[in-house]
């Protein structure tokens, strides 16, 4: 054979080798796709994508959750509805909402001060009168609105203070926190409804906080002043003569028109047609430890999709209302009966669901009912809360936990997004009068516990406009 012939054979062999390598790589890529794509397997069963049934997978997810989401929990738990920077003057007083960077900067610096205050011995703590507490709001101070009300032990734990380190003589519950930062720092704590007030003198100044507050106030100087008064300043918290309406002393009153707020869009993220089989549903099922590939599911007559695995049932109705119920003991959330651990665990769940929904809104702990062991969470977007008014739910999520075990979990699944539109909310008194007009035919006295700007979601899809949300606490009817 000639030299030329040998070269041709060698080239052919090389081409064959290249082609063979290409075929092997292709078979590996396509084969792996077939193995991992569950839809290609009968009845949705797939050994490989069922790998999380193994113990090591559970351990991995637990470790991952432990290390990755702790900061999210803290933010969701220890988050006031609003921070108000008091300057001693009503014109320069400003409200800082949770959609601003300053909000979290102030919160972070204040956490350090509160940690110190809560661990001081009783000689630094003194009981004070209601008027003394309220006067702290007319000086250079920072007010934190925790109107959802936390047990002081729980708030301490959220701040990283252990129960045995906590100083005595604090109000049992805390609804309002004030840090007076000038000339020296003092912390004022209150449970307004119980009439329990105390002051903790720290005796030193925290320059970083003072600098931050000065920066916030000076950056606000050029904008149109929005005069904020507390209800107690205008004496609306104390009835006089024929005055039928009394307001909580901490309600912030805007006597003039407030600025415009963004319009948001509310959408049920799970289309009723695809509820049974989509990525969002799968992610949500995994959060509840339900395996999307092994559980049983069926659709009820009304369109509600029901997923069943062992003792747990998870339903998602056509309006996006999720209901999870377990029979028997329930699903273990945390070891030991510790409220903080429970809140941490359920905060992780609500946070993960929100992540799965790809939601622009955040969820935060908005209330606790100790009698029924129910924790309430609500959505928050553009710095304003969303008030849920559907027949099934009056909060974004209602979660029942008993002895560290999750008993039931309800959530209105919503994907909120911010539109380009803006709207002017109605005037403070217009909204208050409209709300009270509903009762005025039969009421003798009315107490308004909370009034703040927010969005209302009745469950319908579409644009939502910011307006005043009035929470009536007590109505005394005519004789």
């Amino acid at each position: 054979m000639s030299e030329k012939g040998v070269l041709i054979i060698m080239k052919k062999e090389r081409l064959k080798s290249i082609f063979l390598a290409f075929l092997i790589i292709s078979s590996l890529v396509l084969g792996s796709k077939i193995l991992t794509e569950k839809k290609l397997w009968p009845n949705g069963y797939n050994f490989f994508s069922n790998a999380n049934v193994f113990e090591f997978s559970d351990l991995y997810s637990k470790l991952k959750n432990y290390f990755s989401e702790d900061t999210v929990n803290k933010a969701q738990g220890f988050i006031p509805g609003e921070i108000v920077l008091n300057t001693g003057d009503q014109t320069t007083r400003i409200s800082v909402k949770p959609n601003s960077d300053e909000f979290f900067e102030i919160l972070s610096l204040s956490e350090e001060i509160l940690q110190s205050a809560l661990t001081l011995t009783s000689e630094y703590i003194s009981d004070i009168t209601r008027d003394e507490f309220l006067s702290s709001l007319t000086s250079d101070s920072v007010y934190f609105d925790f109107s959802q009300g936390f047990e002081s032990t729980l708030m301490a734990e959220m701040l990283g203070v252990k129960e045995n380190e906590l100083s005595g003589g604090l109000p049992k519950k805390l609804s309002d926190v004030v840090i007076v930062h000038s000339p020296k720092t003092s912390v004022y704590l209150a449970d307004i409804s119980a009439g329990d007030f105390c002051r903790i003198n720290l005796g030193k100044s925290y320059d970083e906080l003072i600098k931050l507050i000065s920066r916030c106030i000076s950056s606000n100087e050029n904008s149109e002043p929005e005069v904020i008064n507390y209800s107690f300043e205008l004496k609306f918290d104390r009835p006089f003569g024929e005055q039928k309406t009394t307001l909580n002393p901490m309600i912030r009153i805007y006597s003039e028109e407030v600025g415009s707020e963004p319009v948001i869009y509310s959408k049920n993220p799970i289309s009723p047609d695809e509820a049974a089989n989509n990525e969002i549903t799968d992610s949500i099922l995994r959060i509840f430890n339900i395996n999307p590939n092994t559980m049983r599911w069926y659709t009820e007559a009304g369109g509600t999709v029901v997923y069943v695995e062992n003792n747990a049932t998870l339903k998602i109705d056509t309006n996006g209302c999720l209901e999870y119920v377990t029979n028997g003991q329930g699903t273990e959330l945390s070891s030991g009966i510790n409220e903080y651990n429970n809140i941490s665990a359920i905060s992780k769940m609500t946070g993960s669901i929100n992540k799965a929904l790809n939601n622009e809104a955040q969820m935060y702990l908005s209330g606790i009912d100790e009698k029924t062991n129910t924790y309430y969470f609500d959505y928050q977007i553009c710095g304003l809360g969303v008030s849920i008014t559907t027949p099934k739910l009056s909060s974004g999520a209602e979660i029942v936990v008993e002895n560290g075990y999750l008993k039931s979990f309800k959530q209105l699944l919503r994907a909120y997004s911010v539109t380009n539109g803006y709207t002017h909310p109605s005037g403070f008194f217009t909204a208050l009068d409209t709300s009270i007009a509903n009762y005025s035919a039969f009421m003798n006295e009315i107490y308004i516990n909370k009034m703040n700007l927010g969005y209302t979601d009745d469950g319908g899809e579409g644009e939502k406009f910011a307006d005043w949300i009035v929470k009536v606490d007590n109505v005394i009817a005519n004789d």
Binding site: L234, K235, S255, L432
Partner: protein, 152 residues
């Protein structure tokens, strides 16, 4: 004689009927500083409680309570004119019975007249707000704290 008596009775009846109407006469765009109205219980000024106050701020919020439907206007005294001019247009008190208004304080001494009218009559209340230095306010606060501490 009977005619005279009848005339007197008719005049008395007419006066009785007309008086509330006269009392309910709307305030115009200007009012005198001495205006008091026909009644003193149409509104109750909650802030400032004593109808006068001192502040270092450039605005002040006046608050009041009254019955639903009461019409409120706010006037500011102009010393060069010698009377008060309207600065806040008419507002009706709603179902809450609460009212508040923010007024600017451009001068050291600022005098306002808040007028209120409803079917029971009219009322005008004079309110004086003085502007003082912030350092004076702080000193006053310290004095208050010291007195409180002494009392305790």
């Amino acid at each position: 004689m009977l005619k005279k008596m009848l005339s007197a009775l008719l005049i008395a009846a007419a006066c009785t009927t007309a008086l509330p109407c006269v009392g309910y006469a709307a305030f115009s765009n200007t009012v005198s500083l001495s205006e008091t109205g026909t009644s003193n219980d149409i509104i109750y000024i909650k802030r400032p409680e004593s109808h006068s106050a001192s502040t270092s701020d450039r605005t002040y919020t006046i608050s009041a309570v009254g019955s639903q439907g009461t019409k409120i206007r706010v006037y500011k005294y102009n010393p060069s004119l010698g009377y008060c001019t309207l600065i806040k247009n008419e507002t009706k008190i709603g179902a809450s019975g609460l009212y508040s208004v923010v007024v600017d304080l451009p001068n050291e001494s600022n005098t306002f007249v808040v007028t209120a009218e409803n079917s029971n009559g009219s009322q005008a209340v004079r309110i004086d707000i003085n502007k003082i230095k912030k350092s004076t306010v702080d000193k006053l606060k310290n004095v208050t704290v010291t007195i409180k501490n002494l009392l305790w």
